[in-house]
Symmetry: C2
């Protein structure tokens, strides 16, 4: 099924536009979008022009905002206006956000009043809010309608609506009273009242953070989330496919940041070495500069080190285990935060749980370290290594587990600060603990 891309690339490379058009015509729009996203922008624009207009729109909607932006820069103004006018209002706003303000204003001026009005509704909400990502066009029905009347209404007005599978039910003042699924409209007695099949909806508030609402939509397994304003009046629907996109984009960012890099926003193999370097270098510099702390800590103990060079041998082992313990704890708690299982209010419980977990891990690793180092080196080195492991694991787990909560409370993305900072912090404090214990045990 996935051979579209190589065949399309080959046809384009040999300038066989007829073959390319045939390949494009045979594939579903989402597959075409996936293939275009992995082509060089120029080839992608050529392929896009080979699509008939109604399919071009579906393909465009399947592209990421970055890919849409690249494509728009390579298309002529007429082509862009045609695509722009045909998009759903939320996608139109997404594209506007990517374009320079002057281009955006010009585009908006060229679409019809209806489209501009729908776009304006969505544009009225702050960036990053659900309101900005919802579809403001929907078919609503009343509780007193019969299922037959409701279904007729959907048939009449459904064309402009992004989804018709979740039908919001509103009262006289447009306040949301529930939802009814198209499935219920279709499968139950047409004479029933809508009120009899009303489900309490999972709603989102228009000003709410889009990622949070999208996660709710995906986790609660609904096909659309009604979006309401401050007075509970229905203003739009967030569909599950838009929600999935929002969650996936957030996941990409989290994964990249957990690895200490910024997200690429472009397919990896198509990104230039300079672009990749840019996403990584700032983090490495920040980490490198904070790692200077470890040099400072070690300088404090240069005398101890000179007397007992053997202590240097264990530095990477101890900092490595500390860093790993800390990042395990940070990963678990960051995940629990993302899924709503834990919140900054749980700081005390998390700290206590991680302290005990770290102590237990430290006891296991410490006894092992003590046994091995005592046998291979000396009992006193064994004692130093064993005690350091207990202390380092306890400290690393506690700090690793609580940092994401503190970050969240301070309004910082936990994924950004967690792993890399914890590693550096554990390295520096671990060394302090190590040499303090060493001095005490070796009687220096």
């Amino acid at each position: 099924m996935d051979e579209l891309k190589p065949r399309l690339a080959a046809a384009l490379a040999s300038h066989d536009l007829t073959a390319a058009a045939a390949h494009l015509a045979a594939a579903p729009p989402q597959e075409v979008a996936a293939a275009l996203a992995t082509l060089e922008p120029e080839s992608s624009a050529v392929a896009f022009r080979l699509l008939p207009r109604h399919r071009a729109l579906a393909v465009f909607e399947g592209l990421t905002p970055t890919a849409q932006h690249e494509l728009v820069q390579l298309l002529g103004e007429d082509e862009v206006v045609a695509v722009f006018a045909g998009l759903d209002p939320d996608d139109r706003v997404g594209l506007l956000d990517e374009l320079p303000a002057a281009v955006a204003t010009r585009l908006l001026r060229q679409v019809d009043d209806d489209a501009r009005a729908a776009t304006a509704v969505v544009l009225g909400y702050p960036r990053g809010s659900v309101g900005r990502r919802m579809s403001p066009q929907f078919v609503d029905v009343r509780p007193e309608h019969t299922l037959r009347e409701a279904l007729d209404r959907v048939r009449e007005r459904g064309h402009r609506s992004e989804t018709i599978y979740t039908v919001p039910v509103v009262d006289d003042s447009r306040r949301l009273v529930g939802v009814v699924s198209l499935r219920d409209l279709l499968l139950h007695d047409p004479a029933d009242a809508v009120a009899d099949h009303l489900a309490r909806p999972i709603v989102a508030h228009a000003e709410e953070d889009a990622e949070q609402a999208a996660r709710r939509c995906v986790e609660r397994r609904v096909l659309a989330l009604p979006v309401v304003d401050g007075e509970d009046r229905l203003v739009g629907l967030l569909t599950v496919d838009d929600a999935t996109r929002i969650v996936a984009a957030a996941g990409d960012e989290d994964a990249a940041r957990a690895g200490g890099a910024e997200p690429l926003h472009r397919p990896y193999l198509l990104s230039s070495v300079r672009a990749i370097t840019r996403t990584r270098v700032v983090w490495l510099l920040v980490l490198g500069l904070s790692a200077v702390l470890t040099v400072n800590v070690l300088e404090l103990f240069e005398g101890t080190l000179a007397e007992h060079v053997v202590l240097a041998l264990f530095i990477p082992l101890l900092t490595g285990i500390g860093g790993n313990t800390g990042s395990q704890a940070a990963t678990t708690v960051t995940r629990a935060l993302a899924t709503g299982e834990a919140s900054p209010r749980d700081l005390g419980r998390v700290a206590f749980k991680e302290m005990r977990t770290g102590l237990l891990l430290g006891a296991v690793l410490g006894s092992l370290g003590w046994a091995v180092a005592s046998l291979v080196y000396s009992p006193s080195i064994g004692t130093v290594v064993g005690l350091t492991l207990v202390a380092v694991c306890t400290m690393a787990a506690t700090v690793g587990g609580t940092t994401p909560l503190v970050a969240r409370a301070a309004g910082v993305d936990p994924a950004v600060v967690s792993t890399p900072f914890i590693t550096t912090f554990c390295d520096a404090t671990g060394l302090l603990v190590y040499f303090t214990i060493a001095r005490a045990v070796l009687g220096l």
Copy 2:
């Protein structure tokens, strides 16, 4: 919206079952499922019993397999049979997989023939395949049907089907020829033939890996993926909500493993310290044992260290930067693998790209390191630190970027081997490089 859990917990704690039942009755099933998942198993079972039967089923389907399993152990056999018989066939199989074989057989014997037949279809596919997660009950139509006929068919037979929004179209020998959306059935001229509104579907093969198919369903933004057998005959549908669950579970696992731990399968705050320790200790032991390598490497250079104790000061800095560079590269490439942007065949391209990226990063960090270390210590120490940074970054990025590809080619989960192993490997080889350069530059 999310106050159900505290209110429910309070009502249960004060044994006010009437209040608990009222809270439960007022919330949508998905919200109830989310609340039950965060309660202690015993409270969760009490709350479950307060639900009317038809809602209990919807709630049960919203629970994770682990939560389902816990609940089943606390319910009476009659209750379990009632729940089991009411589940969709794919969910039924999911539950069977979690139960001991004896219990599973007993349960299967007690449901009616239809349900058993549908379950058997799903059970016939290997664990981890789409066949195992699909819904075998669907309404199919023929290309020659009119939209009106097709819609009537959906109305008649849709009750048993998990989804009716994507209607598969098959020929005389049950071979899949396309799909038609319920939207098209409803919004176009009822006299049109189904053939005129046929869309080429994105399909899955029943034996295919469930995660891979689920990702396709989610990424291509379709509401259901038709599942076909080896002869292209339709055998089921994978719905987007099941697909989202599969992807989310895989994401949890990847995130946990990227942080060097096994997934918890239970809400974090409800997991015991021992359970959390178990998910982490094996990884820490493996990493700790491989970190012994760093001790061995350093032993080789004990003499050099004794002469130049100052060299020890930079050990955590250099291994830290190496580890971070490696894990940045590993994270990016693991993500590219997961999203299908890169495959093991791209090994050469990835290696070349990462080598150049690492060289560029090394050049930036190396010049900085050289300048600082030259000023603070001595020009020769500066040269050693600078050159080591260039070498370590280049090596770490190359190894970090290629390891996930090699792991995938060898059939190992890239998320498992990537970050932690790369860190250890970079530590050991980084030290080798460091002391080799030091000996050469300092003329030892």
